[in-house]
Symmetry: D3
Subunit: 249 residues, 6 copies
């Protein structure tokens, strides 16, 4: 059930049986010479919809732009500052908590969002509690990173080994190929690819990762792989979500 | 050309021939008993894609949650505070200006966004100029509200007369029916519908507009109407965008 | 009744019969070669006092500096950023709501303030409601732009036709001449005056409007005209204010 | 020379001979049973105009609402939060520094503003320097508190002794009587008046100072005294301003 | 009793007999060629511990970095912006007020903190009251500046006369020598030392005070003096704290 | 070399041979019935000093209060909101970058700080780059969590097995016992201790972890263990710091 395709009375009805909502969060950032700039949002949204169908959960609108300041030296990348993203998350959760939601499951497509999301959750619990919004003390947030699902991780290892890398990975590229077969890109990829250098600022990042990839070989990706990743992630995160709902009781 | 389905080298190439980008902005808010909560985002995104195809313009990711604080008393509605939305817009435009973009055309689906967008543009021009980001003085922003296109307005008047109303209107509902025929909702609508009362806070809004509609009869909407609205809006806003690009020269 | 010329016990008494207050808001910005930098504040303050006398309303202190970032390339112009103005409005209304005021009528002298004021009202309704300040849900704000009064508009059209323009207009200059006859300025004005170009950043504005006027011929202004504008605006906005108080009931 | 009664070319000319500007800052807050709510703004503005005439300095618009949070339990009082006032001052000085001003002399009517003004100056020096705005390193700010002028202090002591008190003082009331003889208020004043208790929050303040006075007997004020205070303050602060301009060289 | 060396049950017990806490605040800034960068924090912390022992008060953790923007042109100096320091103080006091603390005695080692601390107290009283945190209306804050204790001042005058100066003073250097005899620094000091110039921005400060001292001769300091200053400050501020606790009742 | 025990000329000299600085960050929060509230700050500071001695690095002042909002239901706990901590870190690094520092190694004593620190680093890289502060693009930050050192982890496992737990652990308590043998606390500890429940808001945390411990048995701690942990952490983090300095070249 997609929030965007629902009416408010339908949401009112939904709240009588569940306090949970799934919120996909991605990023808009370079993914190497062949990866889509929307990769992280596309993956998060597709998987979130799948989890929503599997678990009958409501799925909110996708946060398309996340925390990707280190990618800013590549054109087409967009980012919120962490303090802006904290304000966004706080506003989202204040809206939804006032309506009665209490379990927020963020399906996340971008490693760079994790730290800020955690900071935002802390700030929001505190904010809602200080304001004594009804239900504030029951609010719980959780991040589900699809690319960190053990089933996904294992398949990626099996299919790509070390060529999975850590950004513009074949697994995420494969997933976007499955979701958007009309947008499969080809470009020559140098065999040698930088890896292992830590992430600092944007200029430093581009100096060390000149084509945007981090240790990955996205040429290995296929739409069929993408379907596999999709199904594994949906299955694993559906379980995570259902346990999250239960545990909170 | 969708930013999310492009690679960074493709964006680099695009920037050699154009400095313009289209940014759809919607809202996540109640639209009466039968209107979709995502109506404003769905309309803005669909039309933006259409304009992008017509004009060969790059289309950025949709801002799904806008300024809808006055709808907060209806479950499922979400909103940024105006100060948060200003920060979001500033971050978006800072990212894109650094990459070389200079013409930002927001295709907007929600009247409640207009004031904050204008405020955000002023704040951003100032911010970019103070930081002396290269190109800052050439940056120009423009809002295109599809529902205020004269062709759209005239068709709505012709089809629905006064029953168009001003929120959860048959024209916007029709457009969502065209885009999402699988999500056409039916619900009894009282014949009498509140209208003409100004918008203040959320509780006050719900007191005066108990089912969320403002003077509208969305039962008049059909997917065929939606197609007409879509085509008129795409045509008119495509012209607006092309003129915007030219004027700036 | 001016707040600044009242004592707190007088305000306490006033609140027993009215919850309304008038807040003049202007700007401090260039108004062409002959217009006063304080034009918008002078007009708003004078008219607000007139409306206060006509309606027995309390008139608060004038906000002298508004949102005029696009005029910053002309010396003597001052501006708040929109986010600062939102904070200012929120602080004003928080103070006054706590004392029992609930109807805030902003008499505005500057078009550039309108968007930010609207954004500020939304942010403030939400803020007061979240804090559950007593009376928060009854708070209502309204902007009365004196230069958009239909009677004012018609007279300006009649007296000046197209030479009214849209900034440093003869009508606003006339009003300042009526209020401050000791400060009537003369300077050569080029016959040709820029007009029709949209407003972006400050440097861009000055490039397109080199002497600060937007399509206007302020040389047509006379103090006698100013008196007429003053009287029309006071009359029309007094009615608007009284209806605003009533409607809110 | 008042900024509000000047044109931008006049300011441009002024800047060729002086980099200084006077900015009056007051407050909108209770001043006991007979003191005007606008007392601090009225005094600061009147004296600033006097200093402007004496020294040929440009006088900017009055900041009518200052930092008066501790007076909020008395109706009619208004306040900015310190963080808002810091943003306001920063915006003012950013505007004016960009135009070429470098000496900012705040003529202040309210003790409660002093700490926040000092904080704001520090924040602004830093802000302007980080942005490397031309002239930023020459910017200097100074507060002139008229009520702390030694000549004013001595006269108050001579006329009122201990009954001068520290808020709603006869000296400031006298000054407003001189400026606004039409608004002289009478009300019974208890002979016993609280004094010596430090200032904390608003509720605490009203508990300890139930009628708003702090140790003062404003019934001693006369318009003639007011004229004397006015003239002493204008003379002393004119000298202070001229020395401030010189020292900065 | 140091908060950092206590357990939460010990704090719970403490709160049954006292609502007071001492918070040392210093600065991290240049103190001339021989003064320690941590001087203000070292002095504040040492004296706070002494006052804690004398009065059985709980002593919180030291704020090591304060408002020292004007010292930023000397390497090793660190500063919060005033608006950041206000947020820090507000967060500290919100935490502690929620636990039941109501009397906050800041023992301060740096003149540059005073204005911002006062601003922060005002902002915090207001913040806590708006949120209606239990006990908010009883919250009281006070700054005790050890270097302004009359006993300290008199001794400094007696020992050093005019060579006490106003920054990098022999009295504060002496106190650090007493606390950290292992870190007594020697360096040639020019006999002539700048003094009397007001404080503006950082570059301006360094231009006028090239070695960082303001009119002082820290070569006069001895650890024995330091001990005397320490004992005087502890005694005087212990009395101040005890009176502060009493008065609030 | 401690920044607080250095003079600015010493820092100037230091910068000629190193761009690195160590910044200890702790927290002020409950650590169970016997753990010190200052545990995380004490550990971070002690280890940072050790690393500074080992590596000849400059050690800045300790951040005593971190992000501990989830501990706020236990008296004596203090916390910054994440957005405040981001501002603090940004101010620290802006100060130090302007002086020429480029490698910031945070020695961290509290898991709850990690996410916000990472967010703060991203925000700061971006901030410094936008302002084009000289050296901004060379700035690199790194967190060293002493409790996550592999040598520390292994020893804790060996000594305590599962009774190490994850908050108020015997390893951190041991380290404080080594540093502060005068403050070893005894209190009855229930044998059964909650564990495994995720962290949400403060009230929820206390509901699930009623005495503050998370799965730990701090009664196993001894000062001798503490010395071992101290030495292992100093050794391991000294290597990490030296590699960090090298890598950045």
């Amino acid at each position: 059930m997609l929030l965007h395709l629902s009416t408010w009375p339908e949401v009112e009805t939904y709240l009588q049986s569940s306090r949970g909502i799934i919120l996909p969060i991605g990023s808009t950032e370079q993914h190497g010479p062949t990866g889509l700039i929307g990769t992280d949002a596309i993956c998060a949204e597709a998987i979130a919809k799948g989890v929503g169908e599997t678990t009958q959960a409501l799925v909110g609108p996708t946060i398309n732009v996340g925390m990707a300041l280190h990618h800013m030296a590549f054109p087409g990348s967009m980012s919120l500052r962490p303090s802006t993203l904290i304000a966004v998350i706080q506003d989202y959760l204040t809206s939804l908590t006032q309506a009665g939601f209490q379990r927020f499951f963020f399906i996340n497509g971008h490693g760079g969002n994790i730290a800020t999301l955690k900071a935002a959750f802390s700030e929001t619990y505190h904010h809602l509690a200080l304001l004594r919004i009804p239900g504030a003390e029951q609010v719980q947030c959780k991040v589900g990173n699809w690319f960190m699902c053990s089933s996904v991780y294992n398949l990626a290892k099996e299919l790509y080994g070390l060529q999975e890398g850590s950004h513009a990975t074949p697994s995420e590229v494969a997933l976007t190929q499955y979701v958007h077969p009309e947008a499969i890109k080809k470009a020559p990829l140098s065999e040698k690819v930088a890896s292992g250098y830590p992430i600092y600022g944007a200029a430093d990042f581009r100096r060390h990762y000149p084509d945007g990839r981090m240790g990955s070989n996205p040429a290995l990706a296929t739409p069929t792989h993408g379907k596999q990743f999709y199904e594994l992630a949906v299955k694993e995160l559906s379980n995570t979500y259902l346990e999250f709902l239960k545990k909170g009781d």
